[in-house]
């Protein structure tokens, strides 16, 4: 069996295991961790399209997460629209919002771009905090509890939420897989390396950035809808939390930016560490953040290409040793 066939076999087994996992999981705590892993792996994978492949380092993806969350919630509470539709509407809203945000931010490069994205997410949070009549202000609101209502994205038990999150993650992975193998994938990598050289070989750099930002924003917004449906609550601080922006970037950096599975692997590592720490040490303030910071420092110091980069190097070295 050649290398890629072996990889495909491993992936198929992993997928089957992920689908079968709810048969083995009984505790709500474990479900909670699994769902968080899938959700943040999904958001990280969506971030990675822009931040990893095109190297446009956004720290403002909470903007799209929040827009997705608010769009579906407003539609559901004010007009009774199903969050399934609201999820798509939220994606469209986020996609449209990415146009002016991109127009503003993409004229800046490097750290200035990053700071501008942080600012836009913060501004959106303030907007939703101030306008009470429009979207419940700072108090937020709880989602109406409809019991078991699959058409309204409400389920009994946690297993269905697990499958929704898994579906989202698979969607983002499939999208990333096809983009990375297409011309667009090469173009994103190229403009991430050098924008002038990319322009010189005929790449419409502003256009490519705009398009991938739209895709990334759309997907991230879907995660926002799912999250409020899962926790039955929305307020500006949850929806536009800076933590979401940070995690989206962090899981990708740890796992390996610009790789298909990097964000997933990074999330598994970070979230399981966080969960284990929490169960050992309780909710002591600062412990989680400290460990996060230590992991990040270790990666940046020793493995700036992330875990995926490490694995690639390892395989390459093994191959070199095998062929004398």
């Amino acid at each position: 069996m050649n290398f890629s066939a072996r990889i495909n076999a491993v992936l198929a087994v992993l997928l089957a295991a992920l689908i079968a996992l709810p048969l083995a999981v009984t505790s709500n705590f474990a479900y909670d961790i699994l769902i968080r892993i899938l959700l943040f792996a999904f958001i990280g994978t969506s971030w990675n399209l822009l931040g990893g492949y095109a190297k446009q380092f956004s720290l403002g993806h909470a903007a799209f997460f929040g827009l997705g969350a608010y769009t579906s919630s407003l539609l559901q509470i004010n007009y009774g629209v199903s969050p399934w539709l609201g999820m798509l509407a939220g994606g469209v809203v986020a996609m449209l919002a990415s146009l002016p945000i991109g127009w503003l931010c993409f004229r800046l490069r490097g750290p200035y771009f990053t700071i501008a994205t942080i600012a836009t997410a913060q501004v959106l949070m303030l907007v939703f905090l101030k306008f009470r009549d429009f979207a419940w202000g700072a108090e937020g609101t709880t989602m109406p509890n409809l019991g078991s209502a699959p058409l309204m994205m409400q389920f009994e038990g946690k297993a269905p939420y697990y499958y929704v999150a898994l579906g989202l993650l698979l969607l983002s992975l499939v999208v990333t897989f096809y983009i990375s193998r297409s011309r667009t994938g090469y173009y994103l990598l190229a403009l991430g390396e050098d924008q002038d050289a990319a322009e010189a070989v005929g790449i419409d750099v502003p256009g490519e950035k705009r398009n991938i930002f739209m895709v990334s924003a759309f997907l991230t917004a879907m995660g926002g809808t799912f999250y409020v449906q899962y926790i039955y609550f929305i307020d500006p601080n949850t929806a536009f939390n800076f933590d979401v922006s940070i995690k989206a970037a962090l899981v990708s950096i740890v796992g390996g930016v610009g790789t298909l599975f990097g964000p997933l692997i990074g999330t598994v590592l970070l979230e399981t560490t966080a969960a284990l720490l929490q169960s050992w040490l309780g909710n002591q303030a600062g412990v989680q953040v400290t460990v996060y910071a230590l992991i990040l420092m270790a990666i940046i110091l020793w493995r700036p290409t992330g875990i995926m980069g490490f694995a690639k190097e390892f395989l390459l070295r093994k191959k070199l040793r095998a062929t004398p």
Partner: protein, 241 residues
Amino acid sequence: MPEALVVKDLSKRFGGLRAVQDVSLTVRENETLALIGPNGAGKTTAFNLIMGFYRPDAGSVVAFGRELTGLRPHDVCKHGLARTFQVAKPFGGMTVLENVMTGAFLRDRHPGSARDKAREAIAFVGLSTKENVAARDLTTIDQRRLEMARALATQPKLLLLDEVMAGLNPTEVDQAVALVHRLAERGLTIVIVEHLMRAVMAVAKHIVVLDHGQKIAEGSPNDVMANPEVIRAYLGSTAAR
């Protein structure tokens, strides 16, 4: 021979500096034209104006009968113009093959056939054995070769080479000169910016000399070398007497 590139009265200022002033030049199809001049003469600025990296303050650029003035670089590239950079700008993290594929994608959006076309361009510049090497690990001459292959892969009719020989040793210069000759034999129109006179004499029959952003001489290599203005620009006014 019809005209490949007609530049008319091109001007660009940066603050108080007149980087390029009323420069006009015409390149005929299948001709190799060398653009020479002392440091800071405006050669690279002229390239950037032609390719759309800068917007000219005045003047026009017409290539193959089409007005290109004010177009963005990627649109200029679609019209059959390609360039290399003075300081090579490879996509460092990508392999040689992937680098050149980005060029090939301009005329062919399918990865499979773009890969084939990229391999042709890589073979042409003699980099085939390094196809899977990351671009940042290449030597200087190989990075220049890569730049040429990537530009070639866009299937240009006009190629602008910006100091491709700078920093090469004499053997490598000979190789680069041979490569430029083969490009010309392929029917490409070439504009080359170069400091190295040996290389300029070897590749170009038509030379344009810039100094302080202005065209001071134009003609065959021998005419240009005998021109007192050119000698003054390079060696100072006492030498020209």
